[in-house]
């Protein structure tokens, strides 16, 4: 077989394939639009005006990136006084940068020094899915760990680790939410630890709750490539302008986390610590008094 025969072989192997061209074209166009919009919004400031609309909607219908709002805070934010990121601001940033349009609801979250986490339910029309976004960063009083010390793939269950060109460490994992040794919902995760010490961890499930909820769809909504691109987006920042923290504060209160889990538990006797545990949030994230 000479070299030219390989041309015949390659062409014939794929000639009769009938890929979903219309769907691919439309999805490519939409992905391009979102990426272009994100780039355009970089450095334009915060989306407080748009955010007000989101707050008013409650279970908001959001078209990813279509609202014009952005959580970008790195540049051009008008010199606003920076404060530590809040769980509500993490949520708003997640909603601003969803990989695909969908309906979102069930906002909740918690935070403490060096940690802000949020959960919400996303539905693209093919089944409700829980999504959790956590941002961890070295507090001023803490030493910084190297990205390689935080992102570790020791076993297959940890997923696949890789190092990006900028020195960030990325971990991608596809697994099951394990309850008492019985795997139930499917969970997919992307975690990125950047050289600046900020860790962005996004987990999505194929069910509206990570635990104690039947699967609503065959797989979580976003592809691993979309999850990876999402955590790699420079929009995630540990310091944000004070006005963004103020503007997003009404998205939810820490009590929402308790209510969310209590609602899913027929016994109702759930305190914030249990809720935090159920959502994989640190127990210390609950306010005192709970």
């Amino acid at each position: 077989m000479d070299d030219d025969d390989f041309g015949t072989l390659f062409r014939r192997a794929v000639a009769t394939l009938d890929p979903p061209s219309e769907r691919l074209a439309e999805a490519g166009l939409q992905r391009g639009r979102r990426q272009r919009q994100r780039r355009r919004l970089a450095g334009v400031g915060t989306g407080a005006a748009v955010l007000a609309g989101v707050v008013g909607l409650g279970a908001a219908v959001l078209s990813a990136g279509a609202g014009g709002g952005s959580g970008r805070t790195a540049a051009g934010s008008g010199g606003a006084r920076p404060v530590a990121v809040t769980p509500q601001a993490v949520l708003q940033t997640a909603l601003d940068t969803l990989p695909a349009p969908g309906r979102t609801s069930g906002y909740a979250g918690a935070g403490m020094d060096g940690y802000s986490g949020t959960t919400f339910v996303y539905d693209d029309g093919h089944g409700a899915a829980a999504v959790q976004v956590t941002l961890e960063y070295p507090p001023a009083h803490a030493g910084r760990k190297s990205p390689g010390a935080v992102v570790v793939c020791k076993t297959k269950a940890d997923g696949d680790c890789s190092v990006l060109a900028d020195g960030s460490h990325l971990r991608l994992r596809q697994g099951q939410q394990d309850t008492s040794g019985v795997p139930n919902s499917t969970e997919w995760e992307a975690q990125l630890v950047r050289p600046d010490g900020v860790s962005i961890d996004i987990i999505e499930w194929n069910a509206p709750e990570p635990k104690a909820a039947p699967g609503s769809r065959p797989a979580p909504p976003f592809t691993m490539a979309e999850l990876a691109a999402w955590v790699e987006d420079p929009v995630w920042q540990s310091r944000i302008p004070a006005h963004r923290a103020t503007a997003t504060a009404r998205l939810f209160t820490p009590a929402d986390l308790q209510a969310k889990v209590a609602g899913a538990n027929s016994h109702g006797a759930v305190d914030c610590a249990k809720a935090a545990h159920a959502h994989k949030l640190p127990a210390g994230s609950c306010p005192t008094g709970h």
Partner: protein
């Protein structure tokens, strides 16, 4: 192709036409690069998204369809660098991949391609599916022509070894 102003509905309509016309050829290359149907779909979408972002300056590109193939190969290698080396093809093959007349040929080739280094795979897909010269591939992938020649020879030798006698039979059937 005339210059498309960007952004705007006219440019979007023109891009939509381009995307629909090129999604299938891009997918065919993407399948041989990724060896996986779902990853191929993802790669095509990434490539079209990238093309969309540069669409306003597309008049400076002589052949957007050919350039999209270059973008596809670059995106593939870029994704490979960013992701883990672990490559797990989907367990379930889409029906379209495994039921038509050339299914055996396709599955044998995908299996063999999977054993190649990603960079070598990109070289042979551009050389033998996109029908590009060594010099063109070198420019596409920012390599030297001699490096492309070495990669190409190494990849073909590996494919011959992997496919063996099956190769002639598959082609003749």
């Amino acid at each position: 192709m005339g210059r498309a102003t960007h952004p705007g509905p006219v440019a979007d309509a023109a891009f939509g036409q381009f995307a629909r016309a090129n999604a299938a050829p891009l997918f065919r290359s993407a399948l041989l690069l990724t060896t996986d149907w779902h990853r191929a779909e993802d790669l095509v979408q990434d490539t079209l998204a990238r093309m969309y972002r540069i669409w306003g300056g597309i008049a400076r590109i002589d052949n957007p369809a050919a350039y999209a193939q270059t973008v596809l190969a670059r995106q593939f290698l870029s994704q490979r660098r960013r992701r883990s080396s672990g490559e797990i093809p989907s367990a379930a093959l889409p029906e379209a991949l495994a039921t038509d007349a050339d299914a055996d040929l396709r599955l044998a080739l995908l299996s063999a391609l999977r054993s190649l280094r990603p960079a070598d795979r990109a070289v042979v897909v551009l050389r033998y599916l996109a029908d590009r010269s060594v010099e063109q591939v070198a420019a596409d992938l920012d390599r030297s022509p001699s490096s492309v020649k070495v990669q190409s020879m190494r990849a073909l030798a590996q494919l011959r070894e992997l496919l063996g006698a099956e190769l002639t039979e598959l082609i003749q059937n």
